[in-house]
Amino acid sequence: MEPPAEDLTLTPKMAAVIKIFLEDTQQPRYGLELMRLAGQPSGTLYPILMKFERAGWLTAGKEDIDPKTEGRPARRFYRVTGSGALAAHHQLAELSERYRPPAAVQPRLAPQGSTA
């Protein structure tokens, strides 16, 4: 049985990465591809992937290719776990709450026709 996902507080950068996994939970994702999709440099992306993997949100594996035929080594892929997807949904909702502007604040607009 899959272990439960550890709790993580998402930062906007972490959210940008985990959202890509939630778009298709079965799709394996690769480092370079994630850098392009999330718009994050390697120095940000790889530490985030390590944190997610350690917390049980992501699981890693090896690309299923024959290195001799392809002429290159197999890449390492990441895939979201079931409990990771559930925890990510919850934490994304929390993050969205944190950044929601207060309902009481309405932008003040100048009255129409005013020259002041």
């Binding site: 390697s42 790889y46 944190k51 090896k62």
Partner: protein
């Protein structure tokens, strides 16, 4: 006669130049692969021996090889893509190595008692603190107060499992799974309290 000799010489020179051009472009093509790989090897010097195996050999090098093979027909794109990837790792290698050491050292299984969220056989379970904060925010976030959510639950379909009930509520009302689970859990707790009080 002289004109023929010049023409022959010109042809030979053209052939030699074409062959040389091919050789030079072949040489440059080889160097294009080597430059990003050399930068990546330099980045790997920031890693400790164990990390060189798990991070450099298993992750960085295969990605670079893929980038170089994927854009094989376009040498300039290949050079730019490969060099950009290797250079970004050269800059960030120390940070990545440090993070890896931290996560490796502290990789102990999470304690279920302190974790605010866990997934058990009964579905998503929040810690008491997280549950209270979710419940407090529900009227403002959803625009519907708790008694109305309970009425919706009671008038909805009958489910045996809490998870099914929460999933139905999340889908039917268009709210997040976290809030739906909190509402269902709160409803169950209040129902149990009522039954005990009766």
């Amino acid at each position: 006669m002289t004109a023929w000799a010049w023409a022959a010489l010109g042809t030979v020179a053209a052939l030699v130049m074409a062959a040389l051009g091919d050789l030079i472009s072949e040489e440059i093509r080889g160097w294009l692969d080597l430059a990003p790989q050399a930068i990546l090897r330099l980045a790997a010097t920031w890693l400790d021996p164990a990390q060189r195996e798990t991070i450099y050999q298993d992750e960085w090098l295969p990605e670079l090889c893929y980038a170089l093979r994927g854009a094989e027909s376009r040498p300039i794109t290949r050079l730019i893509r490969g060099t950009a990837y290797a250079t970004s790792l050269l800059i960030s290698a120390r940070r990545i190595a440090r993070t890896e050491r931290t996560t490796r050292v502290s990789s102990t299984p999470p304690k279920s008692s302190t974790s605010p969220i866990s997934v058990g056989t009964r579905g998503l379970v929040h810690s008491p603190n997280l549950h209270s904060s979710l419940i407090a925010r529900i009227p403002a976030t959803t625009g519907v107060d708790l008694p109305e959510w309970f009425r919706r639950l009671e008038s909805g379909p009958t489910f045996l499992r809490r998870e099914e009930r929460a999933n139905w509520l999340a889908e039917d009302a268009g709210i997040s799974c976290g809030y739906a689970h909190a509402i269902v859990h709160e409803h169950e707790m209040r129902r149990r309290l009522r039954l005990r009080g009766a």
